[in-house]
Amino acid sequence: MGSKLIDGLFIFMLAGFIGFEVIRRISPLLHTPLMSLTNALDAIAVVGAIVLVGEHKSTLSTILGTLAVVAATSNVVGGFLITDRMLKMFKSSRPAKP
């Protein structure tokens, strides 16, 4: 238990730093799609919910888990969809302008 906690904290710390360094470089131009993308990635919580439903340990856990999978899946699908729709709209003027 103790070492798992420490492992987890190490991972959290490293991922936090990576996130910080990577996201700092993202131009304000793309902050809206960034937020919808991280939202979709965050919905990876769906994996925890899937296991909860599938293990079927109690009626309560199955019901709550099913609702959780629905909520997270809608974020996965909706999040990626709208991020891609937004990014498709960003076009450069370089080729056409005189």
């Binding site: 238990m1 991972i11 959290f12 996130g19 910080f20 990577v22 996201i23 700092r24 470089r25 993202i26 131009s27 304000p28 131009l29 793309l30 809206t32 960034l34 937020m35 919808s36 993308l37 991280t38 939202n39 979709a40 990635l41 965050d42 919905a43 990876i44 919580a45 769906v46 994996v47 925890g48 919910a49 899937i50 296991v51 909860l52 599938g54 293990e55 856990s61 199955t62 888990g65 099913t66 609702l67 959780a68 999978v69 629905v70 909520a71 997270a72 899946t73 809608s74 974020n75 699908v77 909706g78 990626f80 969809l81 709208i82 937004m86 498709k88 709209m89 076009k91 003027s93 302008k97």
Partner: protein, 465 residues
């Protein structure tokens, strides 16, 4: 452990690959040219992770998983197809969904594990549930305000901050008690309830102009609650995704707070609108000059350099496509047209960029405040469409102004300033804008969409062929 360790290892490797793809996904977001690859990497990582999870040997029943995945997809597709003007409320809603998922899983885990919950486990479980429930109701409230289902004006009362802090303190106290006595089942719903209530109370005093900061903050909370869930489930993938989302939301909140010259605490506890209503009093009669669309078109077509400053009012009036026509008409006449985007223009970070990109304005014409501010003195016309406080020179000069110190776009330094506005009433925050009374300022009164439309018509009639 001994039945199928191979499958378990395979799943872990798949999660590792998914983590790499998630990090690459964010890395590719740094430039508009690679950003779509980022989406694909994220999608691939997600499909792999979900596929790998389905191999989990503990899963005995797939029926409800399948139903939930289908149902989630059915709900997700319309949420991915909303109009670009509705993106802020959609984002708030998806923060609510994410937090809802985390809260439900945390609740289920508690009832599965009690009464034997190790202290560390109970600590992270409490963090997960409090942050998750608070983000859930907070985001629903934010979405309601953005969709204008709830009043947008901040609601404040005496002792509000104290009440909110006291409530949170009680929540934390219950969490501590649960860590020490995880068998005290009845305390769990109380903790959950306090989290849900705190989310509502936290958003009540927040006004529309503070939404960019608050949405970023909620984004950060959603990420942190997911990371806490990763600790509970011992899922490294979830810890990584949560930490990435948490730091992203945190960075955006810092950028937004800086752009308003305010601290986090000030946004959450400040109730901006209230202060200003008082400060707006005591303005003597000043005169502003107004102009017609014809005059505006004449000035614009004689200019060499034009900077357009869009604000939330442009989104409300749905004027972005007319603005694009104006951009085209002026560009055809050889006028250099660029857009100046304040970080907090609109209702979420980057909101204006998305609306203008949707209207087919090339992204290299959209510049953020730091890039473009030094160009205003060499600019012939600054055209303000639906923006107010972010152009208010009082922020630079008037120490008594509630927005004093906030970085603004130096619109007043342009040779001519034109402001499209419905009337002389003060903006959302209720602060008078001295920009409107400058000699070089022309007020163009009317609806943004119609007015820009009539300027375009004037430009077309004046012989652009």
């Amino acid at each position: 452990m001994n039945t199928l360790p191979v499958t378990q290892n395979v799943i872990e490797v798949i999660y590792l690959i998914a983590s790499v793809l998630f990090i690459l996904s964010l890395k590719w977001m740094s430039s508009p040219t690679t950003a779509r690859h980022g989406v694909w990497a994220g999608e691939l990582g997600m499909v792999l992770a979900i596929g790998g999870t389905l191999l989990h040997r503990g899963i005995v029943d797939y029926k409800w998983i399948a139903i939930a995945l289908v149902l989630g997809t059915v709900i997700g597709i319309p949420l991915g197809m909303v109009q670009m003007t509705a993106v802020p409320q959609r984002t708030a809603l998806s923060h609510a969904f994410g937090a809802f998922c985390v809260t439900l899983v945390g609740t289920a885990e508690f009832y599965l594990r009690t009464p034997n919950v190790p202290r560390f486990m109970m600590s992270v479980l409490s963090i997960e549930v409090i942050l998750g429930s608070l983000t859930f109701t907070g985001s629903l409230m934010a979405a309601g305000k953005l969709q204008e289902l709830l009043p947008q004006r901040p609601l404040t009362y005496k002792g509000q901050n104290f009440a909110n802090l006291a409530l949170l303190a009680v929540g934390v106290a219950i969490a501590v008690y649960l860590v020490l006595h995880p068998e005290a089942k009845n305390f769990f719903p109380a903790m959950l309830g306090i989290g849900l209530l705190a989310g509502v109370l936290m958003i009540i005093p927040i006004g529309g102009a503070d939404m960019p900061t608050v949405i970023s903050l909620l984004n950060s909370y959603a990420g942190l609650s997911a990371a806490a869930m990763g600790f509970v489930l011992d899922s490294k993938l979830l810890i990584i995704a949560g930490a990435l989302d948490g730091s992203s939301g945190f960075i955006l909140s810092v950028i937004m707070s800086k752009a308003m010259n305010r601290s986090f605490a000030n946004v959450v506890f400040g109730a901006f609108g209230q202060v200003q209503a008082a400060a707006a009093a005591g303005t003597e009669a000043k005169t502003a000059r107004s102009a017609t669309a014809e005059e505006a078109a004449a000035i614009l077509s004689a200019a060499n350099k034009v900077i357009i400053v869009p604000g939330y009012g442009m989104a409300v009036a749905q004027a972005q496509h007319k603005v694009r026509e104006l951009y085209d008409a002026l560009t055809k006449r050889g006028v250099d047209v660029r857009f100046a985007i304040h970080p907090v223009a609109g209702r979420m970070p980057g909101h204006m960029n998305v609306l203008l990109a949707e209207a087919d304005i090339p992204y290299d014409r959209l510049l953020d405040m730091e890039e473009i501010n030094s160009d205003f003195p060499q600019t012939d016309v600054a055209l303000v469409i639906g923006a107010n406080d972010v152009t208010n020179p009082a922020a630079r000069s008037d120490a008594s102004s509630p927005i004093y110190g906030m970085p603004i776009l130096d619109v007043d330094k342009a040779r001519t300033v034109m402001v499209i506005k419905r009337g002389m009433s003060p903006g959302f925050a209720g602060i008078d804008n001295p920009l409107y009374y400058l000699d070089r300022t022309l007020m163009l009164f009317g609806d943004a969409k119609n007015f820009v439309g009539s300027i375009v018509r004037e430009l077309g009639g004046g012989g652009g062929h």
